[in-house]
């Protein structure tokens, strides 16, 4: 029985957990990405706006007189640099060809020509983010305007101030955001495992119960039911399973009852037939004796009645035997016997010792029911004699804890399509030959007897032609665990069973 284990590589649990983790990961990554983008622009913009506004303010506070006095301007630049916000910046001043700065060098390597041109030509401030040598800078260019007269309009003064501010803090902030998002996502995934496992458990528990119930139903316990919890799809499934199981149980019970009634009927019929038959059998002897004195036609009719009555008696006996097997009323009365001796007695009891070649090694002792073993041997040999062809061989051997009894004839064998059915009741391989000498129950009774012993019986076509029946009986009785009586292992023989005259019935 194949039961998908809980550890299946891509079971429902694994898939549910993976789906949960995927959803969690996707949402974490999306959230982190959006947060990162928003926060990044917010952080950068705030820093830029602050820097630009405070730089303009500082520049307006600083009013050098034109024309420029370089030394004075340098001190003013130091002053502006000291008040830098939000981060330290370096201030560069350009006037004509004059270059002054608050740093070591009068000219910055970070300022781009674009920004210079914009500051020189456009009447407004400009800024630019520059990444140089892996470091981010904010560069601001401010053309200073001057009023022509106090309170009047302004014209460009020719003085341009630049600020260069490293954005390392912002980069650090953004890096910290990324780190925080990553560090938050991993515990998030770990936390997502918990609901994932819970969900998997809540789905899988009903499935497991269902499996257990289906398993026990397969094992024959038709009253297995599942507890219905909640109102979800799993509960629906459980309800459906329960009602199906109930219907199945009901149907099986009806079938069992019908079978039991049929068996009881057969048993009753055979019992009822026995009493009148006993009376008739007593009369047939008289009829047989008197037949000689009657005219030939009447004598033939009388002998026919006598013979058919005998067959009817055999049939009724077989039916009663079958009924006992069906009712599990058949019992073993075991005794330890010599196997060869038991077979010899069977053969000689029916005066077959001359027609059957027996290979009976001495000294094989086995515990069995002698009467039933006699039935087994007699049915198989009788079947071989009636439906096969002589010579018929009976061979005993022992192998692996079993007594092997083989009965082989020299007939054409069994037709392949008949092989699976030779042990069926009233099975006739040749429908035209419906009136046979046997009851049609011989092999079935043989099989039941073998099962009762815990053994197996097998029909096949022997390699050299002819039907071969093999019976294996365990030496130590049916309790030896030699196999539950699952029925015969019916093997198809290698030899082609060609003839229509195929052994199917056992004469009793």
């Amino acid at each position: 029985m194949k039961i998908p284990g809980a550890s299946a590589a891509f079971g429902v649990r694994t898939r549910l957990v993976l789906a949960f983790l995927l959803v969690a990961a996707v949402s974490a990554v999306t959230t982190a990405a959006l947060t990162y983008r928003e926060a990044r622009s917010a952080v950068l913009e705030r820093a830029q706006d602050t820097a630009v506004a405070s730089f303009r303010e500082e520049v307006e506070r600083f009013v050098p007189g034109l024309p420029l006095d370089l030394e004075a301007v340098r001190w003013e630049l130091y002053d502006i640099a000291a008040r830098s916000k939000p981060h330290p910046w370096i201030v560069f001043a350009e006037y004509g060809s004059t270059r002054v700065s608050s740093g070591d060098r009068p000219v910055s390597g970070v300022l781009t020509e674009d920004l210079r041109r914009a500051a020189r030509t456009a009447p407004h401030g400009s800024f630019q983010r520059v990444v140089k040598d892996g470091k981010a800078y904010l560069t601001i260019g401010m053309p200073v305007m001057t009023r022509v007269v106090a309170g009047g309009g302004a014209v460009p003064s020719g003085l341009i101030l630049f600020a260069v501010m490293p954005m390392t803090n912002e980069e650090t902030d953004i890096d910290a955001l990324v780190t925080a998002a990553r560090d938050g996502a991993l515990p998030g995934l770990a936390v997502a495992l918990v609901p994932a496992l819970f969900a998997a458990r809540s789905v899988l528990r009903p499935v497991r119960e269902l499996r257990r119930a289906a398993d026990s139903m397969g094992g024959g316990r038709l009253d297995a039911r599942i507890a219905v919890r909640g109102r979800d799809e799993m509960a629906d499934l459980a309800r459906t399973f329960n009602s199906s199981a109930a219907r199945l149980e009901h149907s099986v019970q009806e079938l069992r009852d019908a079978g039991a009634r049929a068996r009881r009927f057969a048993s009753d019929v055979s019992h009822e037939l026995r009493t009148p038959l006993a009376g008739m059998l007593a009369v047939t002897d008289v009829l047989d004796e008197e037949a000689a004195t009657l005219d030939p036609d009447t004598a033939r009719a009388v002998r026919l009645i006598s013979a058919e009555t005998g067959k009817l008696a055999v049939l009724v006996e077989d039916l009663m035997e079958m009924s006992r097997f069906d009712a599990r009323a058949a019992e073993l009365t075991t005794d330890e016997v010599d196997a060869a001796e038991a077979v010899r007695r069977s053969l000689s009891g029916r005066k077959w010792q001359d027609r059957v070649r027996a290979e009976l090694p001495e000294g094989i002792r086995i515990r069995l029911d002698p009467r039933r073993f006699d039935v087994i041997v007699a049915n198989l040999v009788g079947n071989a004699l009636h439906h096969g062809a002589e010579p018929v061989t009976v061979r005993l051997s022992s192998r692996a804890g079993s007594l092997i009894t083989e009965v082989r004839d020299s007939g054409p064998g069994i037709a392949p399509d008949a092989l699976p059915h030779v042990f069926d009741r009233f099975y006739k391989a040749d429908a035209a030959r419906s009136r046979s000498s046997g009851s049609g129950l011989g092999l079935a009774i043989t099989q039941e007897n073998v099962r009762l012993h815990g053994g197996t019986i097998r029909a096949q076509n022997a390699p050299g032609g002819g039907a071969l029946f093999t019976v294996e009986l365990p030496f130590d009785g049916p309790a030896s665990g030699h196999g539950a009586p699952d029925g015969p292992a019916t093997a198809h023989g290698e030899g082609p069973g060609t003839g229509p005259h195929t052994s199917t019935e056992a004469g009793a």
């Binding site: 024309p67 674009d114 407004h124 800024f127 022509v148």
Partner: protein, 164 residues
């Protein structure tokens, strides 16, 4: 490159009554206003307005400004890279006279005005305009040996600046 709002505005020029405004070219060929402090002689009793204003501000007159412009940048200004347009002769005496009318300023020069390049004309126009008018709003006519040019405005127009 992002525009970042209005430029800073400051009072970088000395008060008008103690300077003339000259317009030189920067190394990038841009017109820059350059103040030149002049010594204003004592006008006597400051309480009463001078009856002869034209005479009183002789040192601040447009003619003085144009003369100073033609004289070229001084040492400090040259050091800052300021210069005159090449077509402008370094000849202070070329400035003849400046007549400030109600609606125009006429500048008579002892040179050929038609030969002046556009930056050179602009220098003269702006210097004269800002000397004649506080906001340089008057059109200026340059008159030379070879005739007169059409009235022109200074290309540097003051833009409104926020009051502080």
């Amino acid at each position: 490159m992002v525009a970042a709002g209005r430029p800073p505005v400051g009072d970088l020029l000395p008060p008008r009554d103690s300077r003339v405004l000259l317009f030189f070219l920067s190394p990038d060929d841009e017109l820059l206003p350059v103040p030149r402090i002049v010594d204003v002689p004592w006008q006597g009793d400051s309480g009463s307005p001078s009856p002869d204003g034209e005479e009183a501000s002789e040192v601040l007159s447009p003619l003085t400004a144009v003369t100073a412009l033609l004289d070229g940048p001084n040492k400090a200004e040259r050091k800052a890279g300021l210069r005159n347009a090449p077509s402008l002769p370094r000849e202070a005496s070329a400035a003849d006279r400046v007549v400030t009318g109600a609606s125009t300023v006429e500048v008579r020069l002892d040179l050929r005005v038609r030969r002046l390049s556009a930056p050179a004309r602009d220098q003269l126009v702006c210097t004269a305009a800002f000397a004649a008018h506080t906001q340089g709003a008057l059109p200026v006519v340059l008159i030379g040996q070879d005739g007169r040019l059409a009235p022109a405005h200074c290309s540097l127009r003051p833009v409104p600046a926020p009051a502080r």
